[in-house]
């Protein structure tokens, strides 16, 4: 962060998030933001605001754009699913950049995740290991998203469906399930045809009937309107 050294101790040292908040339209913070995405990758942090700010600066000055950094931002955005961050980033990336091979691949991956096609996703991801494996936490983040979507959809999901979505099989899957049984309230059940079912804890999305029925409440300001008439 270039700012801190000039005036020695007097100058406040800003974190990158503060820089973005204080002065979001300043081309000089571009290198800081580029360093910060590297930092986000290596220490498994994430800041959508900082990354959008960087993409915006690239949009203003396309000659300064680094393809490598854009790719990192997009992978981090994929990991933020179910939030729509990947699209938010794409909105800011010129089409001529999006047609590059690696971006086409990432867009395809996003499409598979958006449409719940986990089998295709993992197949495609496997073909591009060199690019994705260097991002710590990538696999875990996608698995978390898969579980999120499954637990919205299912009260009880067949083990095979779960296996496909998180791309884990055999003993590793047993361990994976065990872990969630211990930590996240999953339980196991035998279904019809003796297949194994994983039961997700209840939430208002897989038990939509739990959703509180909205009461017939009338706001005071509406009632006030009829006061003069009633009186």
């Amino acid at each position: 962060m270039g700012a801190q050294t000039e005036n020695g101790a007097q100058k406040k040292v800003y974190t990158v998030e503060e820089l973005v908040a204080v002065n979001p339209y300043n081309p000089d913070i571009l290198p800081d933001l580029e360093n910060y995405i590297n930092d986000q990758v290596s220490s498994q942090k994430y800041s959508l605001d900082a990354n959008l700010c960087l993409l915006r600066l690239y949009q203003f000055q396309p000659t300064r754009m680094s393809i490598k950094i854009v790719a990192q931002i997009l992978i981090k955005a994929l990991m933020a699913m179910p939030a729509p961050d990947f699209n938010l980033c794409l909105f800011l990336i010129p089409e001529r950049v999006q047609v590059e091979e690696q971006f086409k691949m990432l867009i395809l991956l996003s499409h598979y995740l958006e449409t719940g096609r986990f089998r295709q996703f993992w197949d495609e991801a496997a073909k591009n290991r060199s690019m994705l494996e260097i991002i710590p936490g990538f696999e875990k983040a996608v698995q978390a998203y898969a579980i999120h979507v499954l637990s919205l959809t299912y009260q009880k999901v067949p083990r095979t469906i779960l296996a496909e979505a998180v791309n884990i099989e055999g003993p590793a899957l047993d361990k994976f399930i065990e872990h969630h049984v211990a930590n996240d309230g999953w339980t196991l059940e035998t279904g019809r045809g003796r297949s194994l079912l994983v039961v997700f804890p209840q939430n208002e999305f897989n038990h939509p009937d739990m959703k509180r029925k909205s009461k017939d409440a009338v706001p005071l300001e509406h009632v006030v309107k009829v006061f003069p008439i009633l009186g």
Partner: protein, 521 residues
């Protein structure tokens, strides 16, 4: 009035300003104009906001209609001597002068640059806190609105290089700071910060300050409202600029200090009200927060429906109607992707059906014709996206003014495509309380694994992430799966008897009052 001519600049393109030069003498000041500026100058000095407003909205339009329908007003140099060469007044006059020019006459490249300079000077004076004027909010809103409009217009101008003359290209190159995107954003941001408007709104919530109740005017001490209100409107300006750039989440962040769930200063000027909700709704649509979009469009469309008649004489009337139509199109898009019709008020829904019923039905089919309808509505109703970067002169000169729009359209249609099977599934779900996956798969004519992905897509797309990061369901037909059986739950809204009765009571009361007024003899 700022962007009445909004949609396509190219319609102006053919006209150049030379033809009206035959009669137009910039130095000729008719008596009526002399009186106008002298009077306006005096009212501004005397801080008669009401009078200023009358002149600004009334007299200026009247004189324009009478004398300057398609020629510019007299130049500022020509009128300066009637107003003591007052520096600030001259800037205000120029602001109006350029705004009128942009609306009525095609500006030259140089005039665009000069208008930018004038805004820089004007905002510079305001930011340095040396003005003590009070101006009508309408005018201050128009300034911010026009500032963003001219920026957008310049980006369009600068991105159509093919037909530019050598001189024009030279000018674009030479004045590369004019309407520079950093400059534009930083002025808006500086106005927000310098005005401390965010803190003012915070303090108001705690009851420590009055802002909304007086619409930002200071009736007691007569201190200037200019910086404060420019700061307030700049938050809306920032939302709009970010939408033009395709940066929707940042845009919505800029609007957070304004609570749009209720009336506020932003609703007192109809232009500001519409601009705010139009961009808020559009950004929400792009963020897949369909319910937010539907609710806010519904509210503002109902408001316009009820108040349209009062604006018929307003210079903004055409613009109001245009945005009204565009928001109906956006509402049709939102409802096609998220069929929560019960969120839409009856009258609004009737108007919507009148205009779009047929198209909305066809959009549910998700065939090629449906996509072309999504395309049509989006293209008609979207903001005029811009490419903010400076042109590259080394490459062969081309037109890239459509690039930004095409990208946003493409991504939107991609989203629509991802949701193509959902409406079919939804129609089947409506018919059952439970059904096996196998059976449903044969009805929809897909295999079981595909159906499972479609069902997950349905869940994912109907569960949006809100601004606080929470998952919000906007499914009216919802379901859950146990192993391989779907259980369907239709959320039937509780009938709102309370509201219904109150509405009827008020209606009958109105009717009785009406009847009592009738004299039979």
């Amino acid at each position: 009035m700022a962007s009445a001519y909004d949609y396509d600049d190219s319609s102006h393109e053919g006209r150049d300003s030379s033809h009206e030069g035959l009669e137009y003498d910039p130095n000729y000041v008719p008596d009526a104009v002399k009186t106008f500026v002298v009077h306006l100058y005096r009212q501004i000095r005397d801080k008669n906001v009401y009078e200023i407003h009358q002149m600004y909205e009334g007299s200026f339009q009247l004189l324009t209609e009478r004398m300057f329908r398609d020629t510019p007003w007299p130049s500022v140099e020509a009128v300066a001597s009637y107003v003591d060469n007052d520096h600030v007044f001259c800037m205000l006059y120029k602001e109006m002068w350029f705004r009128h020019l942009f609306a009525r006459v095609m500006p030259t490249g140089m005039q665009r640059v000069e208008s930018w300079d004038n805004y820089c000077n004007l905002f510079g004076v305001v930011l340095h806190g040396v003005v003590n004027m009070q101006l009508p909010n309408q005018w201050l809103w128009d300034m911010v609105d026009e500032f963003v409009y001219q920026f957008q217009s310049y980006c369009q101008y600068r991105s159509k290089l093919k037909s530019r003359s050598h001189e024009e290209l030279q000018l674009i190159r030479q004045y590369d700071q004019a309407w520079n995107v950093y400059g534009v954003l930083n002025y808006l941001q500086a106005l927000v910060e310098k005005s401390t408007i965010i803190q003012i709104l915070e303090r108001e919530k705690e009851g420590l300050e009055i802002f909304t109740a007086t619409d930002g005017y200071d009736y007691d001490n007569g201190s200037s409202n200019v910086l404060k209100m420019l700061g307030y409107y700049s938050m809306i300006g920032l939302l709009r600029v970010h939408c033009l750039l395709g940066d929707y989440s940042t845009g919505l962040k800029c609007l957070v200090p304004i609570d749009i769930s209720q009336q506020g200063v932003y609703t007192t000027i109809i232009g500001s009200h519409i601009t705010t909700i139009y961009h808020y709704g559009f950004a929400s649509l792009m963020l897949r927060r369909y319910v937010d979009a539907i609710q806010e469009f519904n509210k503002v469309l109902l408001y316009i429906l009820k108040t349209k008649q009062f604006h018929q004489k307003s210079p903004q009337y055409d613009q109001i109607l245009k945005k009204n139509e565009q928001m109906f199109a956006l509402l049709a898009l939102s409802l096609s992707l998220c069929p929560q019709v019960k969120l839409v008020e009856e009258n609004v829904n009737n108007h919507l059906r009148e205009k779009y019923n047929d198209k909305m039905l066809r959009m549910q089919r998700y065939d090629d014709e449906a996509y072309s309808l999504y395309d049509e509505l989006f293209s008609y109703a979207c903001p005029k996206f811009i490419t903010p970067s400076a042109p590259v002169f080394d490459e062969p000169l081309g037109n890239y003014n459509q690039d930004a729009y095409r990208l946003q359209l493409k991504l939107f249609l991609f989203e629509v495509k991802q949701q193509q099977l959902l409406s079919g599934v939804r129609n089947f779900l409506k018919l059952y309380s439970s059904i096996s996956i196998g059976k449903l798969a044969t009805y929809i004519e897909v295999d079981e694994p595909t159906l499972r992905t479609v069902l997950m897509t349905y869940k994912h797309k109907t569960h949006a992430v809100n601004s606080k990061g929470n998952i919000i369901s906007h499914a009216d037909i919802d379901f859950y799966i146990v192993e391989d059986v779907l259980h369907i739950i239709e959320s039937k809204p509780a009938k709102r008897y309370g509201d219904y009765f109150i509405k009827q009571i008020l209606k009958y009361e109105g009717l009785i009052t009406e009847l009592e007024r009738v004299r039979l003899d």
